[in-house]
Amino acid sequence: MLAEFGYGILVVAFLVALYSVGAAVYGDRTKSAGVVESARRAMLLIWPLITLSAATLIYLLITNHFEVSFVYSVTSREMPTYLKITAWWGGQAGSLVFWSWLMSAFASLVTLRKWDRDREFLPWVIVVTSLTTAFFLGLVVFYENPFARYWQTLDGQVLTSMFAPLNTIPLIPADGLGLNPLLRHPGMIIHPPMLYLGFVSFVIPFSFAIAALITGRTDDRWIRITRRWTLWAWLFLSFGLVLGSRWAYDVLGWGGFWGWDPVEIAALMPWLTGTAFLHSVMIQEKRGLLKQWNMILIILTYALVIFGTFLTRSGVLSSVHAFAQSAIGPAFFVFIVVTFASSIGLVIYRWPQLRGETELKSLLSREALFLLNNLLFISVLVVCFWGVIFPLISQLITGQTVTVGPPFYDRATAPLFATLMLLMGVAPLSAWGHSTVKTLGRALWKSALAALLIAVILFFTYTKNAIALVGFFLVALVLLVTIQEFWRGAIGRMKAQDENFFTALWTLISRNRRRYGGYIIHMSMMLMAVGILGINIFQTQTQGTLPVNGSLKLGNYTVQYESIAQFNGPDNRQVTRAVVGVYDQNGNYLGELHPRIDYYPDAQQNMTIPGERSSMQDDLYVLLVDWQPATANGATFKIFVNPLINWLWIGAFVFLFGILVAAWPDRELEYVRERSHRVEQTSAAD
């Protein structure tokens, strides 16, 4: 009964979404405000409907309704309740409902804003958001129904269907399969929602872009309205990526955090175009340039968001030739092609209106460097995309499938990322409109010299690795330039306003939050870069089988095997936990670690959880690989020392702070600055 109810509500939500699309188009064409208002109300109804359906699904998950196939596949009796709730997005069907739920929530939020000046955008924003919601609801209603149940025919065959097929009886399994143990981790509970929030909130700027294209109001109004949405989208997506990395580091037990897996790349690609978009909209706001480009970027981002959802959710990855394995593959493909083609068609239609108001003049001007930044992000995107589709291409051309692995991505993207770092160092010092080598050099040379000095010191004290030295030089350069920017601004204010240093710094930042928030984000990227350089270049490892009290030495650490114990953990795990003591090079005791192996009987699967000891210098990361009960052989360990990795996570927090500085809502009206002020603004430093 409940399953029918939940499914029925989803069908209603799907129909309401379609109605709101139709009504919005009709209302706009007939200039009928009443019909548009009806469309808006319909769209506001979608979220409560999906909420109701989702609540039903969660109820079924919590109460062990294993006759529902989705419940059977993601939960089991032993799982704690919070995991049963999060199992909502642990499987494909549920996560599609989750996606639509978030989408409709954001769409509702955006339609609740004041629309006085932008009435003509409203119907088209409704069309885009409702159509996207309808697509995902349609997938759930027609292909991936989370409420479908098991039925058994008389000859014992098991069928999955929403309603009872002829001559069948309901099949109610005694227990479910349980959530994949890999996903039973706190990181996995917040990682997908973050990623999805990022995905979904990028639909909002896209919908305004399409509204601008259709209505012909192609000025930067749509960018100004969606500026905050874009920043929040970027925040969520970035955090989703970081959380995913942290989860991989803590759970997957291979001593790394990023493996250029297609799933990771799927989430990274919209981030790349989104980041490029975030930068290039500033050029449009300040200089009236790159309008066509911005449209293309946001359209690409939307397409990659849908593509990313498909890749991360279709459960068909890791095998290179399995793109269309799931029933929803073709549906996704058609949706992406149709939306992408029609959006690009609109851009071409409005091409003349989207021409720049001025021209790029100087190669070293701020706007030219922003353009270069965009090209670099797109280049990284092209590398990623190439890596993902290369197997298909090679198959088509030579008949032989050829794949590329992580070394390909490392090699092809490293120079691009290095150039991006250099840009972060140079661009803040260049002026809008026109810069020369001379003016730039004058602003840059002190920081460059200091960074070089740092690199030289590191050469003699820390490492002779060329790539690392180049990396550290760039990190130092960007940090110095950025700090210098804060310093200069604050000192300038101190003198002009007669304030003390901290008041001056505070006012400086709060008056130009987007700019200084951006700088904080640049610095956080440098901290992350230190962590990435550290683990990629300086990671060391060793392994060995130890008797009790035997020890292994790696770098400055000595790891001594002390004992091992087996017990039952929560969630019906069988835990095998080793205790190892950690000593520094002088034999001082530093503490103990508990690497362990969790065995999940319901899933018949092991999870290897590392013992980690973190410091600013490095992480000691100990894996229990294997063990023999009650023999002198003892246990086998694999040990990594991951230098500097913690700077990655610290950088992530600084990043969060920077984005909050940039995106926190203003009290003053956003659109006070209008184009007439643009010239004055740009002649000033900002």
Binding site: G253, H321, L363, L375, T401, Q605, M607, L623, V625
Partner: protein, 159 residues
Amino acid sequence: MGRKKFVIGGTLILAAVVYLIVSSTQANAEYFMTIDELKAQSQSVIGKNMRISGAVVGDTIQYDPQTLTLSFEVANVTADNNVVEAQGGLAAVLHAAVIDPNRSRIKIVYTGPKPDLLKNEAQAIMTGQLGTDGMFHADELLLKCPSKYQEAVPQQTGG
């Protein structure tokens, strides 16, 4: 005049990116083969970077924790998705491959911790090289168990 330098700059960037992609692809290409294909042209591919996939034969898994040497056999499975679908899904195909003694098999050698997902009838994707000893020396091991989480149907149960 103003345009020209941008065109030149853009072309240089484009050339650099194309070079990066092409050279990195060449340096890191891995041929994806089924075990049948690998056996058919074994001489010509010795030492080349390759990626192969197959079904793990559970009985053959051996692990020496002293040296962390892992070895097991994989049985040939088709790489064609349509065939997989026609034969009842990946789980069924993997099962059929493992129980069929006439399937071509190859021995995989890998050094490192034993992966948690390595078990009978798992799909294994290995990156590495075919050695002169006829064994496949894997540098990287990727496993998935489709039977468990994707297409499983409950067993006959009461309740």
